[in-house]
Symmetry: C2
Subunit: 411 residues, 2 copies
């Protein structure tokens, strides 16, 4: 018996968790445009435009600025496996789940890892990074810019300088911050930065922008090996050790995105259309206006929570603007509250990972949802749910406080 289920048919839901979030309507439309062949001149023109667009989003001159066909985690792995050969030294900053993820991936690359660790809810001091880098002299230093598991944003400026001083490459996972918080790649001295669409860029998960400095690209190309059967004359290889993955071999992927157009994967054209439109939307708004919009929404979330007597988690000096974690008050049931937000109001807020499981909610205000109406709707709903669950606060306090933040900003 064939069973084909029905059409997609779900209610519109306001996604106010740590991502994925609602997709910008222009991006949804871009994905419904009919495709072209991957070596079609019109399509390769779109590829080149996408490179130029993301150079602007990353604030970089890097020639090698393109997309990895996979989720944000795919771009992290492509970066680490293409740089780190087995036995290479890596220094990894870790004070959250996504710092641990960098460690986990680098371990699988066979790298020797030195972790610079801090407690969840904090960031790493540059002195600690410098100590480790001076001692280990790593090939790569890896850091998460905004770790949504803790909502902390790692300051990067001094770390970029340290990496240059000790001739280490700096990798930054900016999945959760790109186009939402300032991340001027060249000014920071970061060598490889990767992101995803499903956070501040307001697209679906499945395509991951990446930018690579010339010095990092030079190292990666020293490990280049071209597949057999692809070009007349067969394979060719550089002196360096072959990269441990074919799909994530950035040397081959750069050859594909270059004028050589050496076939590697078949570019995920619908996701490229989405990525291209995400960047266009962001650049038309302007990065600085976009950073301000995210900061304002984040401030409104934090202030509204405070006005309800809810405590914001983590070091306030380093909080990401676009995601806010709130301690779950004693006596309230995490799952039940999130369930009521969803079933009664069609609003999603986020749970947490690891040591924070059941201890905090994570509220994102990102991309198309970093807007007044989304923040107000979320707090109107949260007030209702918490009031009916017996949590004591002045009804209206949260919404009024959020509105006051917006009123003040409008003056």
């Amino acid at each position: 018996m064939t069973e084909t289920f029905g059409e997609l048919d779900h209610p519109p839901r306001l996604l106010m968790g740590p991502g994925p979030i609602n997709v910008h309507p222009r991006v949804l439309r871009a994905m419904s445009v009919q495709l072209l062949g991957q070596f079609d001149p019109e399509f390769t023109t779109y590829m080149n435009q996408t490179m130029a667009l993301y150079r602007q989003v990353f604030e970089t001159q890097n020639r090698w600025t393109f997309l990895i066909d996979g989720t944000s985690r795919a771009a992290i792995e492509a970066s680490l496996v293409s740089v780190l050969a087995p036995g290479d030294e890596a220094v990894i900053l870790n004070c959250g789940r996504f710092g641990l993820l960098l460690t986990e991936i680098a371990e699988r690359c066979g790298a020797k890892i030195t972790m610079v660790e801090g407690p969840w809810g904090s960031v790493i001091a540059p002195e600690a990074v410098e100590d480790a880098v001076r001692r280990v002299r790593p090939r790569l230093v890896a850091a998460v810019h905004g770790d949504t598991s803790t909502t902390m944003a790692q300051p990067l400026a001094e770390i970029g300088a340290i990496c240059r001083q000790y001739d280490a490459l700096l990798y930054v996972d900016a999945t959760a911050t790109l186009s939402g918080m300032p991340l001027p790649v060249d000014a920071l001295g970061a060598d490889i930065v990767t992101a995803g669409l499903q956070k501040c860029l307001g697209g679906p998960s499945g395509s991951a922008p990446i930018t690579i400095s010339d010095r990092a690209a030079e190292h990666i190309f020293s490990r280049r090996h071209v597949e057999r059967g692809l070009v007349l004359g067969g394979a060719d290889g550089a002196a360096g050790r072959r990269i441990g993955s074919n799909y994530f071999d950035l040397a081959m992927i750069m050859d594909y995105w270059s004028d050589k157009r050496l076939n590697h994967h078949t570019e995920a054209a619908a996701m490229l259309f989405a990525s291209r439109e995400c960047a266009r939307v962001a650049l038309e708004e302007g990065l600085s206006a976009r950073f301000k919009r995210h900061a304002l929404a984040g401030r409104a979330v934090a202030v509204a929570a405070g006005a309800m007597g809810l405590k914001v988690y983590g070091d306030p000096a380093h909080k990401m603007t676009n995601v806010t974690a709130i301690h779950i008050p004693e006596g309230l049931d995490d799952q039940r509250v999130r369930g009521l937000m969803r079933t009664e109001f069609e609003i999603e807020i986020g749970s947490a990972f690891g040591p924070l499981t059941g201890k905090v909610w994570r509220i994102g205000a990102m991309g198309v949802n970093a807007r007044k109406h989304a923040v107000l709707a979320t707090f109107a709903a949260l007030e209702t749910v918490l009031r009916r669950e017996g949590f004591g606060f002045t009804p209206g306090a949260g919404v009024d406080a959020a509105m006051a933040v917006y009123d003040e900003a409008a003056e």
Copy 2:
């Protein structure tokens, strides 16, 4: 200066190469549906439905039938790296570019490889596979079902039986054939089969269906290691050697697609919507009607080519139905002819790889394009271009022959 280029604005192009091809309009619409959060009950229901749909497409009872978030090549690598630990023996069937690709990926997994090779344009005899398997006793035998580089379809039935006899796992790359040519996974005794959307399934590249037998899953789970920072109580690991990739760790990806819903990547929701709709379209048509439609279109292409005096490449007994390679006649310029097809008629036909570069054109009639009008339009255009390039044949012969194939089938 901000530069955001324009809206997507390209002419409709008929994609008659070896893939990607035009996307079915229902699939384009599915991708423009607003998203849900990845742990939303509605979304996990869609995930479960997608599993059930692809079980039918793969003709399997395999519980582990799901999607890899990447192009078809991502699913190949996920399969090989999750099965093959460094030093494991693998036997690989190779008589085309995509056989070589299996070798290339398995080498990067650190496997010891025995190739069973044949010339391009042929397939491998089961006796040769049995000889190698008896000698090597590999953990895995890997084969390409339809290798678009040569347009040959490898018979698999006897190879499945050989693998069972010698207790090897059988991996099959069915990127280019799933839903276009018969591939009854359970009946063939294949253990892991992967595909892509951009061929017979009529979707965009970027999501890759995979199915895994219980005995293959058991081996993969013996290598399971859960990330730290993800669950309370920290990491846990099985006895087997950790899989060499995090993104392609099928044990973690199966945990994510199971009721555990252990977070791994953020599911590429728009591509999941596309994959789900591709399967629905295929199953509503019916697999057997779909196989017939592809076979008919492929026959029309081959017969039309013959009627024009063009020679079909490769062993006719093993030709894929959905892609046909045609020898480029002496004196005609490969690129120029394909360029005229595109600029004058907005039709794309394919070039070739490796030793066939400049020697054959590849014409695909797949998915939504495995239809009379698409084949007729392609040959009407090809006749015009070749006639004006000075190739001698009876004008109208190709189109008439294709039409006769369809007329005969309609009787």
